[in-house]
């Protein structure tokens, strides 16, 4: 897949890159990070103009993210109907409203594997669009110009850089899942402990 996409980029340039990152932002499993780093290297070779290519890619990926936010937003009624505004749902909404900005930024360039679920959750949990848009723009700016910049700096070695970054991204995702699991486990143990201490007092 990545080979086919790279061939299309060297043939058709920035417009095809825009389409790829747009579809990727909507959930298609494209190797976006690899492509952005490669495009940085292509810009160094003078094949693409880094500023216009970067801006086209940024506009397209943000548009794709906004659309997947929209999908979550319009699915909100169905989700609310399903959970009937339960305490858990309200609590989850509050948590996302507090930490959602960070989740949006970090999932744009580091834990990219869960970017689309975060967009959908942001849309469906009532996270404001204005905040989503600003955090999304910041995160995608880092992704496009930061990672693309690494491709530009390292030139022909872009494949090695991409390999390191994609593995670090996977490692981070694993550590986040592990941290959530441990956090939930500790919370569950605390609840069990507090229930035990409450029983004798009854």
């Amino acid at each position: 897949m990545s080979d086919f996409l790279l061939t299309q980029i060297i043939n058709y340039g920035a417009p095809i890159l825009g389409i790829i990152v747009f579809i990727g932002a909507m959930g298609a499993p494209f190797p976006g990070t690899l492509i952005v780093i490669a495009v940085g290297a292509f810009a160094k070779q003078g094949l693409l103009a880094w500023h216009t290519t970067g801006l086209i890619a940024l506009a397209c990926v943000v548009l794709g993210d906004c659309l997947s936010y929209g999908m979550g937003f319009y699915a909100r009624d169905t989700i609310l109907h399903r959970f009937e505004k339960s305490d858990r749902w309200i609590k989850a909404e509050d948590t996302f409203n507090r930490w959602g900005g960070m989740a949006v930024v970090w999932t744009r360039f580091l834990i990219t594997g869960i970017a689309v679920p975060v967009n959908l959750i942001a849309g469906s949990s009532g996270f404001s669009f204005r905040r989503f848009f600003l955090y999304d723009l910041l995160g995608e700016f880092i992704w496009i110009f930061g990672y693309g910049g690494l491709g530009y700096l390292f030139g022909a070695q872009w494949e090695t850089v991409s390999n390191v970054l994609s593995n670090i991204s996977g490692l981070t995702l694993g550590m986040v899942l592990l941290a959530i699991g441990v956090w939930l486990g500790v919370r569950r143990l605390k609840t069990i402990e507090s229930n035990k201490t409450k029983v004798p007092g009854l």
């Binding site: 061939t7 030139g155 490692l171 694993g174 592990l178 959530i180």
Partner: protein
């Protein structure tokens, strides 16, 4: 959520997290070692546009002849001649596509011919055009 489901969810997250972190962590260590083996280019050089590539081993299957020609500063005619095919309607095809179309019986031959042509043109004095057409 029933306690059994809660327990399974927590256990699942922890196991999945360990597996993913272990797998990618292992690969990241190897990737970092590989990264350190390659000296990064000096910043001044890295910021200069249009550096001519010289390492023909970096040629990949997804590249097209015009792209290789531009990257290695080798005339496209030399590369097409080395493959024995016409540039007409073949300029946008990757090396892999050219291989599948013109040399289906010989996988990997196109990339090898192109690498050899690039190396030969790097060795040849300026103005000399190497490369003999190979019948498809």
């Amino acid at each position: 959520m029933p306690p059994k489901v809660q327990r399974a969810l927590i256990l699942g997250l922890v196991i999945l997290g360990i597996l993913i972190a272990g797998f990618f962590g292992f690969r990241a260590v190897f990737a970092l070692r590989e990264f350190q083996r390659h000296e990064p280019p000096p910043l001044a050089e890295a910021l200069t546009e249009q550096i001519v590539e010289t390492d023909a081993e970096l040629i990949r299957d997804w590249m097209t002849i015009p792209y290789i020609s531009r990257t290695y500063q080798v005339h496209p005619k030399i590369l097409f001649d080395a493959l024995g095919i016409s540039p007409m309607e073949n300029e946008e095809k990757s090396l892999l596509q050219l291989n599948e179309e013109f040399f289906p019986e010989m996988p990997g031959i196109v990339i090898e011919l192109v690498k050899a042509a690039v190396k030969a043109s790097q060795l040849a004095p300026a103005g000399d055009v190497p490369g003999t057409p190979a019948a498809p």
